[in-house]
């Protein structure tokens, strides 16, 4: 007999006390608390683990603090390409989307792929065609913009272009803050 439980993450990397001031640290902790509380409440009410993880992730997707949906990092071309996946442990059924640009909640679309398609992963234009068929609302890619991520893009591009190494090697030299959120 086990207990119900939930855990969440909002990204890993070069996160030190020197990089975060008190105000930023408080903001991250408050949003993490909001997300974990939402998921826990669903579980405490007898809801499913699937509903709990989706609810928690969607709160973080809507926050500019994290690298997902609103707050996502920029591609080289200055856009946002979003990925998401969902899996349930009772049936081993899974759904995933890659490289979508106009879906407000990629995790919701990943779950839709799991529940409403015979496939596991859909990508790019095809994933958005599926979303349209399922009645998903589309948003402008600019909705995911944030100033601090745009500055990160400019910094990363400058470092890559200044390097005398081939692009792939130059990219490898970037600090981990550019490699993931």
């Amino acid at each position: 007999q086990g207990k119900f439980a939930i855990a969440i993450h909002g990204g890993a990397g070069t996160i030190t006390r020197a990089n975060l001031n008190d105000e930023q640290e408080a903001a991250y902790k408050a949003k993490l608390d909001e997300a974990i509380s939402a998921g826990y409440a669903i579980l405490a009410d007898g809801g499913s683990s699937s509903d709990a993880v989706i609810a928690a992730v969607q709160i973080m997707e809507k926050s500019p603090l994290f690298n997902a949906a609103k707050g996502a990092v920029y591609t080289w071309e200055g856009e946002h390409e979003l990925d998401a996946s969902f899996m349930r442990g009772d049936t081993l059924e899974a759904g995933a989307v890659a490289g979508v640009k106009r879906i407000a909640s990629p995790i919701a679309l990943a779950r839709e792929v799991q529940e409403k398609s015979v496939h596991v992963m859909l990508s790019g234009v095809g994933a958005e065609q599926f979303a349209e068929q399922q009645g998903f609302e589309f948003v402008d890619n600019k909705m995911f913009d944030t100033d601090h991520r745009y500055q990160q893009l400019q910094d990363a591009k400058a470092k890559i272009m200044e390097s005398e190494q081939p692009e792939q090697q130059a990219w490898q030299q970037l600090d981990t803050k550019y490699k993931y959120g």
């Binding site: 990397g13 997300a35 779950r111």
Partner: protein, 135 residues
């Protein structure tokens, strides 16, 4: 990258991960997040995992599924399995990042080999734990 894993009152596990990928990515690059087995995995017989980190390494070492397989076939606990992959296999290969894990009994473990990982957890009857740094 953001993610969540959970075990409900029925004993069912689920995992979810969502990301914008890496800064300045080109060529339609995708990382581990949408790759089932690399960045996300759930199996009621073992555990549920969501990953965050340098995705190419998580793909090569199918990190999320590897942790659950170790629990399932080696019969080790969630901490042993998670630490072996994140602090052993992944780190030895030069990969950085972390995972959140909840096992089939509701035990939670959140190992990472970077300076920090934004994370939180709550187990039935317990308090919410929110943390960022290693210590």
């Amino acid at each position: 990258t953001v993610g969540a894993v959970a075990r409900d009152k029925q004993g069912n596990l689920a995992a979810a991960t969502s990301t914008g990928g890496m800064t300045a990515k080109r060529y339609g690059r995708i990382g581990d997040s949408p790759i089932i087995g690399a960045g996300t995995w759930a199996d009621n017989e073992s555990c549920a995992v969501s990953a965050t980190g340098h995705g190419e390494y998580f793909i090569r070492y199918h990190v999320a599924a590897d942790i659950c397989s170790r629990m399932k076939y080696q019969q080790v606990d969630v901490k042993t399995a998670g630490d072996a992959v994140i602090h052993g296999v992944l780190k030895d290969a030069g990969g950085t990042g972390g995972v959140i894990i909840v096992d089939h009994k509701g035990n939670v473990h959140m190992p990472f080999n970077t300076e920090g990982m934004y994370r939180a957890s709550r187990v039935e009857g317990g308090e919410t734990e929110v943390a960022i740094y290693q210590d």
